[in-house]
């Protein structure tokens, strides 16, 4: 009975922090930021405890069903933000990331949970590894996505020489580009390892590395896109606007393969199937 309470508290704190970050964006008062950050951190810790508890209870990673998946995604995004915060100390980034994470949490909380039937096939350390690694990568890409949006907003103002109220609030172009760059660099290996472990697991239990199921296909497209982007950045020296636009597109594809492909197109990766019924 403890678990739902902790999750609700975490949701409340993250929501509160997101509001605080938005207030900070408008008012620019540092004290608002400091508290929002602390509240977010506390919410994140509670959320982590909740996930740990779920894992212990179910014996599998708590990403069965879209409800849990969204909640886990939100956790990964906040986690990635906190890591980047350690390096860049960029207060304003929170004003963009926290609302995104809070939104996912809210969506997750409105989806009815229901009793989860865990089929034995999912009880595997490999699978846990596959899911966790993939989500960490997704969290990093979400940070890259937000940094890219902020970059485009700021770049437009500087290029067109028309300055709105966001101009003074947003950081320098180079900072945003660097965040985008690092988020891609760190996120990509996770995505890759996530896909490889998934394939190995599939080979072990299904006898085939690759099933051509829609989620797998879309994930591959996502991976190719990010690989191309990373190549363009590292080898061809892409920077700034073009790289930002590309990483926004890549993230939209990622979201589609995450939600769209899972809900409507998928075969055995489908959340419907995961919750019992047909599937593998």
């Amino acid at each position: 009975m403890m678990a739902p309470l902790i999750l609700k508290l975490a949701l409340f704190l993250i929501l509160l922090a997101a509001c605080g970050f938005i207030v900070y964006l408008v008012k620019q008062e540092k004290v608002v930021y400091t508290w929002s950050y602390r509240i977010l951190l506390l919410g994140f810790i509670l959320h982590t405890i909740h996930l740990g508890y779920e894992y212990y209870e179910l014996g599998v990673q708590p990403v069965i069903g879209i409800k849990a998946a969204l909640s886990f995604f939100s956790w990964a995004i906040i986690g990635a933000y906190l890591i980047f915060h350690l390096k860049f100390k960029l207060m304003i980034l929170g004003s963009f990331i926290a609302p995104l994470a809070a939104c996912l949490m809210i969506i997750s909380s409105t989806i009815p949970g229901g009793e989860v039937v865990v089929k034995p096939i999912f009880k595997s350390l490999w699978l846990t590894f596959h899911v966790a690694i993939s989500f960490v990568g997704d969290g990093m890409f979400a940070v890259a996505f937000m940094a890219a949006i902020m970059y485009l907003m700021q770049e437009r103002q500087i290029k067109n020489k028309r300055f709105g109220s966001l101009y003074s609030r947003l950081p320098s172009l180079e900072t945003l580009d660097t965040i985008n760059h690092y988020a891609l660099m760190y996120g990509f290996p996770f995505l890759t390892i996530g896909m490889v472990t998934g394939a190995i697991y599939a080979q072990a239990v299904l006898g085939s590395y690759w099933q051509w199921d829609p989620k797998e296909v879309w994930s591959l497209i996502t991976w190719l896109f990010y690989a191309a982007l990373l190549h363009a950045r590292v080898a061809m020296g892409w920077r700034g606007r073009r790289a930002a636009i590309m990483s926004i597109i890549a993230f939209l594809i990622l979201i589609f393969s995450f939600i769209g492909a899972s809900l409507w197109l998928s075969d055995y990766h489908s959340f419907k199937n995961l919750e019992g019924g047909t599937g593998v």
Binding site: L173, E174, G237, R239
Partner: protein, 428 residues
């Protein structure tokens, strides 16, 4: 009745020729203060002299005589006949004078609203006045309040936030393009006051190197020396475009020096590292199309002027907020000033004593049991005469000091000793 006077001239009321006459000599301030001290009608004095203003602030009970003394003092200081500058003087009294000095300290009366130097200048002038011992209770408080108002205006409004000079606006922009200016390199093409100023600002931000290019190499060497930079020839500019991050251009050339195709080519070689052109030249040195390239930002003189105009507007909008803060503080100060008169102080002293007496009787009566009317009268008389005797001497001192120079000090002290301003806890 005391009056606060503020007489002087500023950039709005007087032409620069007149202001510089009077403000010329840095020793003027102490001389002015010394002669204000000699004038018997001036009780406290303060003298401020900067390149945009000369003014004397004084506390007096005879405003007309004091004003004349100040005007003749200004005339002597500048060696200008009074008639020549009477029309250029402003002349504020009491509330207006308080407001004026608050506005000056908050940089609302400055030529460039929000410029930060004025506060330091007032502090120096105040230091001078305390050293010459011309400031007293009222001026001490007035100036400390002025510093307080200036601080509030600076922290609560944005009057001094945005850059309002061309060269500084360029630096601010550079900071929005680059994360850190410390590892950045600058190329200065041509020379000129504004361009060199921008380069100097960038140097203060810690840029790592400055190259200077000029049509005549000798001139390049000369300019480079003053920046500890390295001179390059005009033909090397294209090669420099691969190295530097910020280019300040200010040549007399009638044709574009930096061309679209050249920059486009060099961007590929510099792996798209951002490049920022500050083009101060008229006609322009950088082809306008260059701004269309990714990761290249070109600001010409008109763009920078546009930035400044926006910032200026922003400052003026913020100034409205600042004026409200000033009004607020003027009201507070006037309230304090009123308490300095003798009569209200005596009245509130008596009131306080009476309040204490009545409260104590009420407390004690409960323990005394039932008293006869004559006993009751006895208690009343006893307590009344004790309180009266206790406050009698302080009141006499106040009355005797009523027209002496130290009166304000006594009144102020009295109000503090007897805690007559119970809600005025904020002080300095």
């Amino acid at each position: 009745m005391i009056t606060i006077l503020d007489i002087g001239m500023n950039h709005e009321t007087a032409p620069v020729e007149l202001r510089e006459c009077i403000a010329r000599d840095p020793g003027n301030a102490s001389m002015a203060l010394a002669s204000m001290r000699e004038v018997s009608t001036i009780r406290e004095g303060f003298f401020l002299s900067t390149c945009n203003r000369v003014e004397a602030l004084c506390i007096t009970e005879h405003p007309d005589e004091a004003r004349e003394s100040v005007i003749s003092l200004l005339s002597r200081l500048g060696n200008v006949p009074e008639d020549n500058f009477l029309s250029s003087l402003f002349n504020f009294e009491d509330g207006e004078a308080i407001k004026h000095i608050f506005r000056v300290a908050s940089s609302l009366d400055s030529m460039v609203v929000g410029e930060p130097q004025i506060l330091g200048q007032i502090k120096d002038a105040y230091f001078e006045a305390t050293r010459e011992k011309t400031s007293g209770v009222i001026l001490n408080r007035l100036l400390h309040k002025a510093f307080h108002v200036a601080k509030r205006v600076r922290t609560e409004t944005g009057v001094s936030d945005a850059a309002v000079s061309i060269s500084y606006a360029a630096v601010e922009l550079a900071k929005k393009i680059f994360y850190d200016l410390e590892d950045k390199k600058v190329l200065l093409i041509g020379a000129g006051e504004m361009a060199e100023l921008a380069a100097r600002h960038l140097m203060n931000q810690g840029v790592s190197a400055i190259s200077v290019a000029n049509r005549t190499f000798e001139r390049a060497v000369q300019v480079a020396e003053s920046f500890k930079g390295n001179p390059v020839s005009f033909e090397e500019i294209m090669g420099q475009l691969l190295e530097v991050d910020i280019v300040i251009s200010s040549t007399a050339s009638t044709e574009h020096i930096i061309l679209h195709d050249d920059v486009k080519g060099s961007m590929r070689k510099r792996r798209n590292r951002p490049l920022f052109f500050i083009d101060i030249a008229v006609p322009r040195d950088v082809e306008p199309r260059v701004n269309n390239l990714d990761n290249v930002y070109v600001y010409d003189i008109d763009d920078l002027k546009g930035v400044i105009e926006v910032n200026m507007d922003q400052r003026l909008q913020e100034a409205v907020k600042a004026e409200r803060i000033v009004e607020e503080e003027v009201i507070k100060f006037e309230k304090w000033l009123k308490t300095l008169a003798v009569v209200p102080t005596i009245v509130s002293l008596k009131e306080k004593a009476e309040t204490i007496r009545l409260a104590e009787i009420k407390k004690s009566l409960a323990g005394l049991g039932k008293l006869t009317p004559s006993q009751m009268e006895g208690v009343e008389n006893l307590t009344a005469s004790i309180t009266e005797k206790i406050i009698n001497d302080p009141i006499l001192v106040l009355k005797r000091k009523a027209d002496r120079a130290t009166r304000d000090t006594y009144i102020d002290m009295m109000r503090k000793l007897f805690k007559l301003d119970s809600n005025d806890g904020e002080g300095e």
